[in-house]
Symmetry: C2
Subunit: 435 residues, 2 copies
């Protein structure tokens, strides 16, 4: 074993960074044995140097991240700052000064992954980012390497713990969205500003990364259709229950049937209770991968949190250090298929539509005609007079579940339904997946 | 991209080998793009050259596997023959002649993995074997690489599809073991000689491989405690049901609580229906991995079959070819902890014991005394007069579930119980896991 240590710089020392530093210290011997050389933490860049950080030598703390990555003797830079800048500049600077990079930065990779990969490659360095998607769950490496000899057709999963926690609470307790969000915030599952999670930005970034790797192409976060969970109501969840389903925020990446394009989307969807994703509780993540030869695989585990994310970061650190010792680099970007990303309208999906309609004969015929005009075939219809039909002036509820159709046709159907006199309101629209 | 192809030799062309050859042909362009050079199948060693093999150039077929691996121009040898010899000699010969090896041979790796790794290392070649454990499910690579910065404490899973199919059938249809085995054979899930599967040899080989990788030590198949499913009865399954459990053949690898030894075992066990492994149906596999930082991860998918196993082989082929082009090697054996393997008696586990006892006062006190003498604490007892108590001369059934205790104490308890006059028979003994 080499005795001269590999030098590591840590950018960011929050929930994840402090765990990375802690494990690097407490498990130093194991890491050295697995890498073939000791690793030494030589600097930790933070914003608030005065904060007490247990177990970290205060002499390592600096506020000058740029100077740290420019030292020239750093073997690996671990970036757990998050966000676009200064992370992007620091990473490219690190490459220019001879370091490889391990990052957990999903937003940056989904925004600018191609440029970062190119920067790594031009300097002969590694860019690893297992921790950017689904925390501790090995997903980037299995897709990049284990399935490198297979053809992935679909990735479908729960990749955001905060929203899964909220939807799970709504499902189990009957709580509304706001109430469940408050509980998630109180328990530390949601941040003070929950926008990135509840509006689906976080999941969309992960979907972009997963789609790019799975289909060997480039997908940017802006190409991912995104709907969050803020408009999911207790009534939607109750509707799902009646159908034997539950509601999950899903990230879905698919290769088109003709193989000539891909799609990536994030939206709430009803899935059958019998589907394995339906039983993913609280803040856990789980991802299905469907590949031509492998069939259907599932990966499950904690999708966030300091220690789980640190586990993924350190796995990458070991790999990158081994590569460095072997004067090799791991797999870089694989985007040779250059498949275009189709818009949401072309995705083939199913809708569950719940309408408040006038409680009188002929309404179903009118509604069915609208579906037929848009070329959307109906799977099931359930029509029910509301118990308060007298008070509401004779109102019934009509629940339609469609067969598979292009999303554009389904969404045009909903627009046309809204214009019918007999349709008093669209109570709930949700896609149905996992069948 | 390099235009000169990497040369691949295939040893064995059965269910897996023929799929490997097929995908290498049909997906040649994708493989080339992902590797950075084309791969060319230059020889296929088989036992029966006269068999028609669709899609394989007859000129590639040879019965002389030794000559094939000795050619000297082979970059990668794929070994899917199985068994100890001639596979072992062919693999070492391949290393000596400059090739890296991708193998699906669990029996050989569990018997002689250390020597094979040493042979690979001494020649600067790769030995990859994702396909040896749990078919298409990425498990070897996640353990070797993704979790390389973490400390794995436990691996628990269903790693044999044949036995899972049989137990699943017994559970869902109430069939006995023989009947379920016949069905598995008829459907192609069990081989004509099912010994390796039903006696747990196949699962034990996988447990040895997983334990070695997970704990960075060496575990040989002979050190794995092994019990098959041939003695699992319909009554055991019914007993499990009454406890809210099902019966699965589990492979369990654990680090001892003091961290100074490991254990590996394969045996049928009752697990609660609420445990995710309980819902693994038919011939699917699923493996839980518990690591210090990552927490609890699960991997699920098809554990056998030609195409899924070929997917794992080809993932390894891509990795090994990339290494070859980069003049690097992947991670070799990591056995630095040199942790000893403790015998089964030291494993801490729980027993479910069902006794046929005399239906008279004082029996429970007698039985409870035996448990106390062995230092085994009882969790629950259920005592029930049998409906045919009159005919059997007054017999009752006594079902005891213990707390956790060393397996040796539990097994000594059962022996002592057998000697009690009031105990007419031990109807069922099974360990309880997954709580």
């Amino acid at each position: 074993m080499r005795t001269r240590p590999l030098k590591v710089a840590l950018l960011g020392c929050g929930v994840v960074g402090s765990e990375v530093a802690r494990i690097m210290t407490t498990h130093a011997d194991d890491l050295a044995a697995r890498i073939g050389a000791p690793v030494e933490l030589v600097g930790v860049a933070v914003r608030r140097p005065s904060k007490v950080r247990a177990g970290i030598d205060p002499a390592l703390i600096t506020t000058d991240a740029t100077a740290l990555v420019k030292r020239g003797d750093i073997d690996v830079v671990i970036e757990v700052i998050g966000g676009i800048e200064p992370a992007r500049t620091l990473i490219t600077t690190a490459f220019e000064h001879g370091a490889s990079v391990v990052s957990a930065n999903k937003a940056l990779l989904a925004e600018d992954g191609a440029a970062l990969h190119a920067a790594a490659e031009s300097q002969g360095r590694d860019l690893y980012y297992e921790a950017a998607v689904a925390g501790a769950i090995p997903l980037v490496r299995p897709l990049r390497e284990s399935l490198a000899g297979d053809k992935v057709n679909r990735v479908l999963g729960i990749v955001n713990g905060t929203t899964n926690f909220i939807l799970d609470r709504m499902d189990t307790s009957g709580a509304g969205y706001s109430e469940a969000l408050d509980e998630a915030t109180a328990l530390g599952y949601a941040e003070a500003d929950p926008t990135a999670d509840v509006e689906g930005f976080d999941a969309a970034a992960k979907a972009a990364i997963l789609a790019g790797i799975a289909f060997h192409t480039r997908v940017k976060i802006g190409e991912v259709h995104r709907e969050g969970i803020t408009e999911v109501t207790a009534a939607d969840i109750a509707s799902a229950r009646r159908m034997g389903c539950t509601v999950k925020l899903l990230a879905i990446c698919e290769r088109a049937a003709d193989g000539r394009s891909v799609t990536a989307r994030v939206h709430p969807a009803m899935i059958p209770l019998s589907h394995p994703l339906a039983s993913v509780r609280e803040a856990y993540n789980a991802v299905f991968v469907e590949a031509e030869a492998a069939g259907q695989l599932m990966f499950y585990g904690p999708g966030a949190g300091g220690a789980p994310t640190a586990s993924a970061v350190l796995g990458d650190l070991v790999a990158v250090c081994r590569n460095k010792l072997g004067e090799a680099t791991g797999p870089g970007e694989s985007a040779y298929t250059r498949l275009p990303v189709s818009p949401m309208g072309e995705v083939v999906t199913r809708y569950h539509i719940s309408l408040d309609v006038a409680d009188k004969p002929g309404v179903l015929a009118q509604v069915a005609t609208v579906f037929a005009e848009q070329g959307v075939s109906i799977d099931t219809v359930r029509q029910q007079s509301r118990p308060d039909s007298q008070e509401t002036g004779g109102e019934a509820s009509l629940v339609v579940v469609t067969h598979r159709a292009p999303d554009a046709a389904l969404s045009a159907t909903v627009e046309a339904l809204r214009k019918l006199d007999t349709v008093r309101g669209v109570a709930s629209i949700m896609r149905v997946e996992g069948e």
